[in-house]
């Protein structure tokens, strides 16, 4: 039994190797199909990311608008009551100045906040685009390497070269293609540093706008009290 078993193994490998060129087209086709499937999945994921981000942005735009309308209405009520309470000309003047100052300051603050949001969103889009380019470059190089490897193998088959050698060459080339792809993927990175910078920039811009507004508000309050305190 043993001698038969020993012979059986090499015969099985030899059959695989002898039939390699006959199977090459089918193998290449399956690899091509897997690449196409992954292309489709990646595109689907990218669309999902795009849609999700756009959906959230749209929702936030709506809520920001609603909040601003709500606070505008509330502020108008407060200003109206301030005006009602002012009894003297000096008091009325103080209210007028306070309202004008605050209304202008709010407009400036909102413009600064809107700019910060816009810049942040543009930054996100740039990061997304850059990531896409890096990924597509790596994938394209990988796909080309695979294609070249299969073409070489086919050419060698057509030339009637030793099939076990062709098979081994192809394996080596595909392994190298995968290794190169893994290295290229690392270059894509996770954009963490870029996004942290983006977040920091946005926070600094909005903080500056808010701090400026608060300073104007406190000064306006002090001026109002100083004016009203002397007359009412």
């Amino acid at each position: 039994m043993t001698p038969v078993l020993i012979l059986a193994q090499p015969k099985e490998n030899s059959e695989k190797e002898r039939g390699f060129c006959a199977r090459l087209s089918s193998i290449s086709s399956k690899t091509g199909q897997r690449l196409a499937d992954r292309d489709a999945k990646l595109e689907e994921k990218r669309n999902q990311i795009e849609n999700r981000i756009n959906e959230h942005r749209s929702g936030r735009n709506t809520r920001l608008e609603e909040k601003r309308i709500k606070w505008d209405t509330n502020r108008a009520e407060h200003f109206s009551m301030l005006e009602e309470k002012a009894q003297t000309d000096e008091g009325k003047q103080a209210v007028f100045i306070f309202i004008e100052t605050i209304s202008a300051a709010i407009a400036v603050r909102r413009a600064a906040v809107d700019r910060a949001i816009q810049n942040f969103r543009e930054g996100i889009e740039n990061i997304k685009a850059s990531r896409m380019v890096s990924a597509d470059t790596a994938i394209s190089a990988f796909r080309n390497s695979i294609g070249t490897a299969y073409e070489s193998a086919q050419s060698e088959c057509d030339n009637g070269e030793d099939q076990s050698t062709i098979r081994q060459n192809l394996r080596n080339q595909l392994r190298t293609a995968r290794q190169n792809f893994v290295e290229a993927k690392q270059e894509i990175g996770n954009q963490k540093t870029q996004m942290e910078t983006l977040i920091t920039t946005k926070r600094e811009a909005t903080k500056a706008a808010i701090d400026e507004f608060k300073a104007i508000l406190e000064q306006a309050r002090a001026d109002f009290k100083a004016a009203v305190g002397t007359t009412e």
Binding site: L42, R63, R75, M81
Partner: protein, 100 residues
């Protein structure tokens, strides 16, 4: 033994009280829902107009808080940008050496 049990009970009670106090008494605390990407905050109520300048200023400060919550939400988008990592990685599995 009784003293030890009492000590454990008092420590547990203090922890429970601290947690309750945190959720009941602290002002609006943003919680970010990672699935929806929304910051869930208690609704900031617009204060009633009284004609008092301090109440006006208080209302304006609350408006700032309300707007700030949305600004924080913008940052959630950064988490979505790299969620295609697995799909990119999977290209490496296109080659099946066992087929050769």
């Amino acid at each position: 033994m009784a003293k030890k049990n009492m000590a454990i009970f008092l420590v547990c009670a203090a922890i429970v009280f601290a947690i309750l106090a945190y959720y009941l008494f602290l002002p609006e605390r943003p919680v970010i829902d990672r699935r929806s990407g929304k910051v869930q905050m208690q609704e900031i109520v617009s204060p009633q107009a009284t004609g008092d300048i301090d109440d006006v200023v208080n209302a304006l400060m609350k408006e700032l808080l309300d707007e700030e919550s949305l600004l924080t939400e913008e940052e959630i988008d950064t988490a979505f940008v790299t969620t295609d990592g697995q799909e990119i990685d999977d290209f490496g599995q296109s080659i099946n050496e066992d087929e050769l």
